[in-house]
């Protein structure tokens, strides 16, 4: 099957439907857990793996857990925590589509580009997205 063209508009549409992915760190954490669906780590190590500072990682983890995309047992007294990615068919397959697209270098950069534009729009008023860039992506689930 020929892959669909993934435009920034379509990326934005996916992000809207997923709702909780607003910061690049949210995306990178999701990508990490996409490759490591059951990870037992201390958050400092997780921060090193994804390359963000600890407060941002902590905030993004809370975002993903609150959105129900990630599970973390609450009763642990250990410094390390077990993180389990929820099945990707949650959210009607939108999350799966986004992660499959963002699992490539180009795809990730495209999503981060959209996220950064949104952040910038939010802080300085509305700015239209650059719709000229297009990328290939397999059809979403």
């Amino acid at each position: 099957m020929k892959p669909k063209r993934m435009t920034p508009k379509r990326i934005a549409n996916l992000l809207d439907r997923i709702g909780c992915v607003r910061h690049p760190c949210d995306l990178d954490l999701l990508l990490f857990f996409y490759r490591h669906p059951r990870a037992f780590l201390i958050s400092e190590r997780l921060a090193v793996y994804v390359g963000y500072d600890l407060p941002q990682v902590t905030q993004s983890l809370e975002t993903l857990i609150t959105a129900g995309l990630l599970q973390r047992p609450k009763d642990s007294t250990h410094p390390a925590r077990l993180y389990v990615l929820e099945p990707l068919n949650a959210l009607g397959g939108w999350l799966s589509s986004l992660l499959r697209f963002a699992d490539t270098r180009e795809g990730r950069l495209a999503v981060i580009h959209v996220l950064k534009q949104r952040q910038s729009s939010a802080s300085s008023g509305y700015k239209s997205l650059d719709l000229s860039r297009t990328l290939d992506v397999s059809p979403g689930g």
Binding site: H36, T77, A80
Partner: protein
């Protein structure tokens, strides 16, 4: 004595090496350098457990991302995602530090995760020598880790990187582990050979020594028990001969020279230079079996099947028809990069499945050139083959190429195995005038009388070989030893007085 509760690995051939499996609850250390197959072994151990023995498992990874492990496992046909969905497998990614500290906790999250799916097996990939959290000895740290695993009665396999320059050196962890499987990969004449060794295994018996294994796409590991390893006692006593039955050779005139045929389950060596007629004899032996409705196995190393079929046709044998009827199994293995343990395991499997009554190996010299004559490998292999055939009451013929063109100073050259066989037939060329003519001598017939006279043979196109009758009128008179000088020096001369007094 109670039978040990053995955990079958499910890995092809490995449980045979382990005499059934590994005692439940053992801590298994898999050692080896990078690329030796530790991860594949460990993942297959857990996969087979979950898939074939209803024993869920947990895989712990430190460096390899789970999605890559799942991708690589798919190459072997192992669907790890399906097992995860069915709650028969969990793959946990963590760090060595977290793992080590975790298992020391009474309320270990990791072990709780394992218990949640009723895990019976655990594989930890990429362990390096452990450092004790408070600066203690690695051996003590590993002991604490083992205790944590014992609590849950998990049969745990831990892959440990070998980092020692000296292969004989032992990691402290090896003294604590219950079972140690050492994987190696070594160059053999520009190829490589994988081998595994059960260094120790508490609580049961196992086959000592280094056994070969392969990593086979679409399947996984295949271990082959060392060919030299002793087999069942049944194999050793298999040569209980039936002293009355004879197996016809298929060569006109030869049965008369071997008292009506070979003994059942006997081993016959046919020795001669290339072109002396060994393969023709072999084909006729197989064809005779087919004619009598007996199953025959022909193992050919020098000539591919199409060539063997053509050769058979040229002497009037329709081998293909016998194959189609299920009376002949023709098995060819090219001699390049022989893995002798695997080769022997394949022969064993064919023998057990096809149950031949006759067998031919053409030829032993090819094994010799692959295994080398100076080491014991060839002799051990041949001994194992002879024992296998005897156990299954197969009457076997082994061809061996002797490089000497005219005459023979030794039957087997540097391959000293003639004592292992029951019968030896020497095939020679005899130069008469300007022609090499075929000659056959029955040099040895164990437990049977033989005249050791040399007979002329003939190979006729479209008909094959036959032993020509020896006209009595032309035969030499049998003269007593007393008529000769120099018998022991192997240069006998007739005493002059005897020659002079002899009738012309």
């Amino acid at each position: 004595m109670p039978e040990p509760d053995l955990v079958k690995t499910g890995i092809k051939g490995l449980d045979n090496v382990l005499f059934g499996g590994i005692p439940r609850g053992n801590i298994i250390l898999v050692t080896g350098t990078a690329g030796t197959g530790k991860t594949t072994l460990g993942v297959e151990f857990v996969y087979r457990g979950a898939r074939e023995f209803d024993e869920p498992g947990v895989i712990v990874l430190f460096e390899v991302a789970p999605d890559k492990l799942i991708r690589d496992a798919a190459l072997f046909g192992w669907d790890l995602r399906e097992l995860e969905r069915d709650r028969r497998l969990k793959i946990v990614f963590t760090t060595r530090q977290v793992f080590q500290q975790e298992l020391l906790q009474a309320d270990s999250v990791l072990l709780a995760e394992a218990a949640e799916i009723g895990a019976r097996r655990l594989f930890v990939d990429g362990l390096v020598r452990l450092g004790e959290p408070n600066g203690g000895e690695p051996r003590e740290a590993f002991h604490l880790l083992a205790e944590g695993l014992h609590r849950e009665n998990l049969t745990a396999m831990l892959a440990l990187e070998s980092t020692f320059a000296d292969p004989a050196a032992r990691a402290p962890e090896e003294f604590v582990a219950d079972t140690i499987l050492k994987l190696s990969i070594e160059p053999v004449q520009r190829a490589v050979l994988r081998s595994l060794e059960v260094v120790k295994s508490r609580g049961h018996e196992y086959a000592l020594g280094r056994h070969s294994f392969r990593i086979v796409n679409g399947q996984g590991l295949e271990a082959y028990r060392r060919v030299q390893a002793p087999r069942s006692l049944q194999r050793e006593v298999g040569a209980a001969f039936d002293a009355t039955s004879r197996v016809a050779t298929g060569i006109p005139g030869l049965d008369e020279l071997v008292n009506g045929g070979y003994f059942v389950a006997s081993a016959t060596l046919v020795v001669g230079i290339s072109g002396a007629g060994k393969s023709v004899m072999a084909l006729q032996y197989i064809a005779e079996g087919a004619r009598r409705g007996e199953r025959s196995l022909m193992i050919t190393l020098d000539e591919p099947p199409a060539q063997v079929l053509r050769n058979a046709q040229s002497i009037g044998i329709d081998l293909q028809s016998a194959i189609d009827k299920g009376l002949v199994h023709l098995w060819y293995e090219p001699p390049q990069e022989f893995e002798i343990d695997r080769h022997f395991a394949q022969i064993e499997a064919i023998v057990e499945r096809f149950k031949p009554q006759r067998a031919v190996i053409d030829s032993l010299s090819t094994y010799g050139s692959s295994l080398g004559a100076t080491e014991r490998s060839f002799r051990d292999f041949f001994h194992a083959i002879v024992a296998l055939m005897k156990e299954h009451q197969i009457t076997a013929v082994y061809n061996h190429e002797n490089p000497e063109m005219l005459g023979m100073s030794s039957m087997m050259g540097e391959f000293k195995v003639s004592s292992l066989v029951d019968n030896i037939i020497l095939m020679n060329w005899v130069e008469l005038g300007d022609t090499f003519r075929h000659a056959l001598t029955v040099a040895k017939m164990r437990a049977m009388p033989t005249s050791r006279t040399t007979h002329e043979c003939e190979i006729v196109n479209g008909q094959g070989m036959k032993v020509l009758t020896r006209p009595l009128a032309g035969a030499l008179p049998v003269v007593p030893f007393a008529s000769y000088l120099g018998l022991l020096s192997r240069a006998p001369e007739r005493r002059a007085s005897q020659v002079a007094g002899e009738a012309p």
